[in-house]
């Protein structure tokens, strides 16, 4: 099943050259393995998030379908694919020109350095290749045992939870996780023992009861909550839980294999989370280095036009969105310039003479050091919060837009710095996803789930919310409620297994 092959000959020589530049500039990284493959293979890999052996699911097929067409229609062309593992895998497109390959290699070393050094990636599992493959094996096994459709439908439901994550989990090193699991295990055993004390029924009977309660996954069946599900106890410290995948994995009335699948998918979701939180920085950093390495070192004069062409394509601005490559690279350059010249700190900020500010140069030369430090400790939000200045905002011609119901289109709203910054940060909060917490898992004292959407100015898409709650119901098996704000009014909506509707209060 080898569709990609290690690089050799000219590409290998290039790799060695580019790698030396990266080392000279002070980039550090896990070894990078370059492989070369054709467009179809790149599509296959990209469709599966870069991992060649994931669990079977139709949505990877959909991704593949769209990607492989993208090339034909010329909408998108994947130049690079880098996987955050140790060693770090990167794929080169065999049809690319030499100048493209150089650019991609330089770009890849930027990513590889970021993956290794940025704090948010500290806890990602660098053996993810194996982990993903194991998940694939496990899930295939379940499919053989329980039927592909059944398992796939369950995975569809779990996919609805993929953004219900708690970013703080990323701070937990493997050791912390292990410790906590042990604690939980002992607590659980304690619980069982306690149960035994006040309960004459044997463990066997109990587990039988439990398995009775864990019904087949079908919404038609009315689930009688088993009396052994102690909702009160479960609810004790549930409020504010954001790691909803984990909560359901541990507490929902589901089969072992189902909770195992939630576990697998949760692990994968957390693995990708840091990439979602650092898109701007990561792309900015990689672009900074491809640009630096190419223009200062690797470019031949005959390649300049081609490089400029590709580079400007990557850096294109769009009126509908902020291009992370563009904003990222510009911010790193701006920081470097400011720390080289000393355009920061009290004195500079309090200076009101614009001319003086313009030509401010204290010859500090701290720029390079500073950007290395920044790439270590920030994520997109803190990065922008700290370094997105008014001058920068104006220079980059950034604006906010909003939907005008009167004309039925999105229109430029403001170029006011404060408004823009607020909007940007809001877009990045919680990796751009609505913040959802569990309020109670024993709502109405009936074991209902009550979620709270922590409203930060933007309403939920209700039709999506309805479908999402349907999927949570499939797992939780009892009514799912959500408290949110719609058009400035507080609502609680419920999905009760039949329909989605506001709760009459």
């Amino acid at each position: 099943m080898n569709r990609s092959k290690p690089i050799q000959g000219e590409l290998l020589r290039l790799k060695e050259e580019i790698e030396q530049y990266a080392i000279d500039y002070g980039l550090t990284y896990y070894p990078v393995v370059f492989e070369v493959c054709n467009y179809d293979t790149i599509c296959i890999l990209a469709a599966q998030g870069g991992f060649p052996s994931r669990y079977p699911h139709w949505r990877f097929g959909m991704e593949y379908d769209q990607l492989s067409k993208g090339n034909i229609y010329g909408f998108q062309k994947i130049y690079e694919l880098v996987i955050n593992t140790d060693p770090c895998y990167a794929y080169l497109l065999s049809s690319n020109r030499i100048v493209d390959q150089k650019l991609v290699m330089a770009h890849v070393y930027g990513h590889a350095d970021f993956f290794k050094n940025n704090a948010w990636f500290r806890t990602t599992d660098k053996r993810m290749m194996d982990v993903m493959a194991n998940h694939g094996t496990k899930i295939r096994k379940y499919m053989n045992r329980y039927g592909q459709d059944k398992v796939e439908i369950f995975i569809d439901a779990v996919n609805s939870l993929e953004n219900l994550l708690d970013v703080n989990v990323l701070f937990e090193t493997a050791e912390v996780v292990r410790k906590r699991e042990e604690l939980e295990k002992t607590a659980h055993e304690e619980e069982l023992r306690e149960d035994d004390d006040d309960d004459v029924r044997s463990k066997v009977l109990k587990s039988y009861m439990k398995s009775k309660a864990k019904n087949e996954l079908s919404p038609e069946e009315v689930v009688v909550p088993n009396e052994k599900y102690d909702f009160k106890k479960m609810d004790a410290n549930v409020k504010g839980t954001r790691d909803i995948m984990k909560f359901l994995m541990q507490n929902a009335p589901i089969e072992e294999w189902q909770s195992d699948i939630i576990g697998c998918l949760r692990e994968e979701a957390y693995y990708f989370l840091p990439q979602r939180m650092t898109k701007i920085m990561n792309e900015g950093w990689a672009s900074y280095w491809h640009s630096k390495i190419m223009t200062n070192k690797a470019l031949k004069s005959s390649e300049i036009i081609d490089f400029a062409d590709v580079h400007s394509g990557v850096m294109a601005m769009s009126p509908k969105s902020i291009n992370p490559y563009k904003i990222g690279i510009e911010l790193f350059r701006d920081i470097e310039h400011r720390w080289d010249t000393g355009k920061f700190g009290k004195e500079y900020l309090e200076c009101t003479d614009m001319k003086k500010k313009e030509s401010w140069d204290m010859k500090l030369g701290l720029g390079r050091e500073k950007i290395f430090e920044v790439r270590k400790s920030h994520n997109d939000i803190t990065f922008l919060d700290e370094y997105f200045t008014e001058e920068f905002c104006q220079r980059q011609q950034i604006f906010t837009y909003k939907f005008n119901p009167r004309t039925g289109r999105n229109e430029i709203d403001t170029r006011d710095f404060q408004g823009i910054k607020q909007k940007l940060l809001q877009q990045l909060t919680n990796f751009g996803q609505p913040l959802i917490e569990i309020e109670s898992s024993n709502y109405n004292n009936r074991g209902e789930m009550l979620l709270r959407h922590v409203h930060q100015g933007v309403d939920l898409d209700l039709s999506f919310a309805a479908d999402t709650m349907k999927n949570i119901f499939l797992i939780w098996k009892r009514p799912v409620n959500i408290a949110t704000v719609t058009e400035e009014k507080e609502y609680i909506y419920v999905y009760d297994g039949e329909s989605f509707k506001p709760v009459k209060s």
């Binding site: 769009s318 011609q397 950034i398 430029i412």
Partner: protein, 371 residues
């Protein structure tokens, strides 16, 4: 050896087809048509199947962008501007329209499944024999241009090994005339069934745009089905008011005449076309007539029935009459046909198409008998 993702892909396509099937009624009555993409492939636009997640409402969200412009200027450019560059592992959440490509066979299968259409049994006598040549075997004689080098050298090697003139240290092989092998053709006989569909449409004043839209949609799906059933299919178009003429496809759907209606004019032309071009012992012939049922006179209707009985029915697989309701049409022609042929006739199928929602049902009327 296929990558597992190809299996995911096959699964995705299966799901998609299911979706299209579930929504077929909506598609058809919405007048939405798959867009032909050449070579028997159609593009079916459908909304992206997004995994439901809690997400922000689009409209309200607004966003940030870069570039020139004053407050109040629109930012909705054409799709696809912006990032031409790179795709990156991670999550790309776009609201892309999903465009699925389906072949004629796949699309027809969906239609067939949904309407439970039986396969058509082509008339036995109408099988055309055709021979095709494929160079799939090897012979000992032939022109140099068809020489099969590998096989020739293999023969030579065999000969040299057998005669002991092969030296593995100096492996030079020289073929002689008897070693030469040539690609030769295998003649295969294929039986083909050919069909012709002759569409006739009343374009008199009383037929409005909506009626034509119905005919257009219906004929698209009928063609699709027949294409999947016959190897070879020709389609001819006739429009008529008081006179009839044969036209190209575009014209057929765009013309609007005024004036009266003589249905016989179309049937006469149809008869001519059959007699001149389509020998009914070789062709499966499908005349379709769409009208709002308003004919000029009872005399003309009599003439119509005569032409049908004498010339058209004996030569056709089945004659189909679809009546679209219009505000002006009396619908008399349907009644007349019904009186004569009834609903259970082997060679005439009648169908009333009230509105767009009735299109699928009507297609089922026409094709459901497997004629």
């Amino acid at each position: 050896m296929d990558h597992p993702v190809k299996r995911d892909h096959a699964r995705f396509r299966k799901i998609i087809k299911g979706r299209i099937r579930d929504n077929l009624k909506k598609y058809v009555s919405g007048g939405e048509m798959p867009i032909p993409k050449g070579k028997g492939v159609f593009k079916v636009p459908m909304p992206q199947i997004e995994t439901p997640r809690f997400k922000f409402g689009d409209k309200q969200q607004g966003g940030t962008g870069q570039g020139d412009g004053e407050p109040g200027d629109p930012v909705d450019g054409q799709q696809g501007d912006g990032k031409p560059g790179q795709g990156e592992v991670g999550d790309t959440e776009g609201n892309k329209e999903l465009e699925v490509e389906l072949s004629v066979e796949e699309l027809a299968a969906i239609l067939g499944d949904e309407l439970e259409l039986p396969n058509i049994e082509p008339k036995g006598k109408k099988s055309l024999e055709s021979t095709t040549n494929k160079y799939s075997s090897i012979g000992t004689v032939g022109p140099d241009s068809l020489k099969h080098y590998k096989r020739s050298y293999r023969e030579a090697l065999k000969r040299q090994v057998a005669t002991g003139t092969y030296d593995s240290k100096n492996p030079i092989i020289i073929p002689i005339k008897s070693d030469m092998r040539y690609r030769s053709s295998n003649t295969t006989v294929e039986y083909e069934n050919s069909a012709v569909v002759i569409y006739m449409m009343d374009v008199s004043g009383s037929m409005g745009d909506e009626q034509k839209e119905i005919v257009r949609t219906e004929s698209f799906w009928i063609n699709l089905w027949l294409k999947s059933q016959y190897k070879d299919i020709e389609i001819r178009y006739i429009i008529h008011d008081a006179t009839a003429k044969e036209v190209e496809e575009e014209v057929f759907f765009k013309t609007r005449e005024s004036g009266g209606t003589l249905i016989s004019s179309a049937l006469k032309l149809c008869r001519e076309i059959i007699q001149e071009d389509y020998n009914s012992s070789e062709w499966n012939i499908y005349p379709f007539h769409f009208s709002d049922g308003d004919n000029w006179s009872t005399d003309d209707t009599k003439l119509c029935l005569e032409i049908l009985d004498k010339d058209i029915l004996p030569n056709s697989n089945v004659f189909c009459y679809g009546q679209v309701e219009s505000r002006y049409g009396s619908g008399q022609f349907y009644k007349d046909l019904h009186t004569k042929y009834g609903t259970d006739n082997e060679s005439v199928i009648l169908s009333k198409i009230k509105n767009k929602d009735a299109i699928l049902e009507s297609i089922k009327d026409f094709l459901g008998k497997g004629k």
